[in-house]
Amino acid sequence: MKSIELINVSKKIGRKKILNNITIALDKGNIYGFFGRNGSGKTMLFRAICGLLKPTSGQIIINEKILHQDISFPDSLGVIIESPGFWNYYTGFENLKVLASIKNQITDLDIKQAITRVGLDPEDNSTYSKYSLGMKQRLAIAQAIMEKPDILVLDEPTNSLDENGVQLVRKILMEERARGATILIATHNKEDLIILSDINYHVNDGTVSLFQKNL
């Protein structure tokens, strides 16, 4: 079953075409890896899939609903895009509680479980401003998975993590795939792609192509 479909998606910002006629179809319950050099369009592609960027032309279909027509953003989505943005003066738990209160679908216990799952202490009273880079990244992963979304869009999910953190995130992503989530990862870490992804795409100058060679 198709979870995400992009049909001839293009996006122009000013005179620059940042996404160029992209057509891909992503099945439910797989991990898709996207790699390419900096500025190739990976993050913009992810933003478009998340509904944060409206394509200049083409269609994005999420679970048979057309983005920006039937829905404004995917109904069930977890996201990490670029640097994690949380409120500095809240603890990790409070940050996730504020975000969870928007949809109001999960309980405090679910939030705490997500925090524990990424190796942080939900009872930690340190504010986010005191967190190390690795802790910030772990919290970002916790916010992405806490609502058990159908789609996970993760830009550089293992950034700033130590070896244990990387192993833990890989394990979490495997579990999420087993749960049935469709996972999109953009990364420069080839090991992540080799271990995690079922199918890889190469992003270059706003175009996307299936990558069939060995990484």
């Binding site: 404004s72 953003f73 943005g85 409120w87 003066y89 504020v98 975000l99 949809k103 916010q143």
Partner: protein, 267 residues
């Protein structure tokens, strides 16, 4: 969600500290002026510090600068408030809700509350400093009325300016550029008032329609007897007119912001 986000302790602390320091500075500075009037009234002090700009002195930089000091501080701390929060949290928030306009309205309410707290604290601190310096309220009725009028005009006029900067920054303009545009327009309007006063006295009523002049209490007509110390005022320029004018402008700005944020790309 707004209630929780409003408790940004670092912003409150900065506003309290800067507000207190400004109140002390203005208290000492204007106490010398008030003594020239040989009238040690707290009402007079309040008008001098927060509600007056001598129109004939606008050509000099210092009075205009002093009048703008409290505003400059707010702009410094809150000028990029919405833009900063948007950049930081947009990806997490707007992948959970489509109600972008509600988020923007919440941010605008937060801004309003911050500015309200800043001025209430600053005017309270100013009253304390003035009392310590030997000034007292001559008439509580007049004094309270003045404080309320001044607070309303200051609040709304400064809120309008901060909101304008914040809304402009949603149009992908650099925050510093937005501050520069807004302050320049503010200063141009003030100077234009002085030019109208000096060369086009017949058209002086136009001043009340110029944006940014509504925050100056003594330019209004029909205010209390203490204001007799300030002979210049614009006929039919009531405080109610200014309040309605400023509220309408603020609502229009918010409407522009809502229209923009609903359609804008987040990247």
């Amino acid at each position: 969600m707004r209630e929780k986000i409003f408790t940004e302790k670092d912003i409150l602390l900065k506003l309290f500290l800067s507000g207190g320091l400004i109140a002390i500075f203005l208290g000492f500075y204007y106490s010398q002026f008030a003594e020239m009037y040989q009238f040690k009234s707290l009402e007079l002090m309040l008008i001098l510090a927060y509600g007056n700009l001598y129109i004939e002195e606008i050509v000099f930089i210092v009075p205009v600068f002093l009048w703008m000091v409290p505003l400059i501080v707010i702009i410094f701390f809150l000028g990029d408030y919405i833009h900063r929060n948007f950049d930081q949290n947009a990806a997490y928030i707007f992948t959970r809700t489509a109600r972008r306009s509600l988020w923007l309205i919440g941010q605008a309410v937060n801004l309003f509350l911050y500015i309200l707290i800043y001025y209430i604290f600053q005017i309270a601190a100013f009253c304390v400093v003035s009392t310590v310096l030997g000034f007292s309220m001559f008439s509580w009725d007049v004094g309270i009325m003045l404080i309320v009028s001044e607070l309303a005009l200051l609040m709304l006029s400064n809120y309008m300016i901060v909101l304008l900067i914040n809304v402009l920054s949603l149009f992908k303009l650099n925050s510093l550029f937005c501050v520069a545009i807004t302050l320049t327009t503010n200063i141009v309007c003030i100077f234009l008032s002085a030019i109208l006063y000096k060369f086009y006295t017949k058209n002086i009523a136009i001043i009340k329609w110029l944006p940014f002049t509504q925050g100056i209490l003594t330019w209004h007509s029909g205010i209390s007897s203490v204001a007799d110390f300030f002979p210049f005022n614009i006929p039919h320029f009531s405080i109610l007119f200014s309040i309605v004018y400023l509220i309408i402008i603020c609502l229009l700005l918010l409407f522009c912001g809502v229209c923009k944020i609903e359609k804008m790309d987040i990247y």
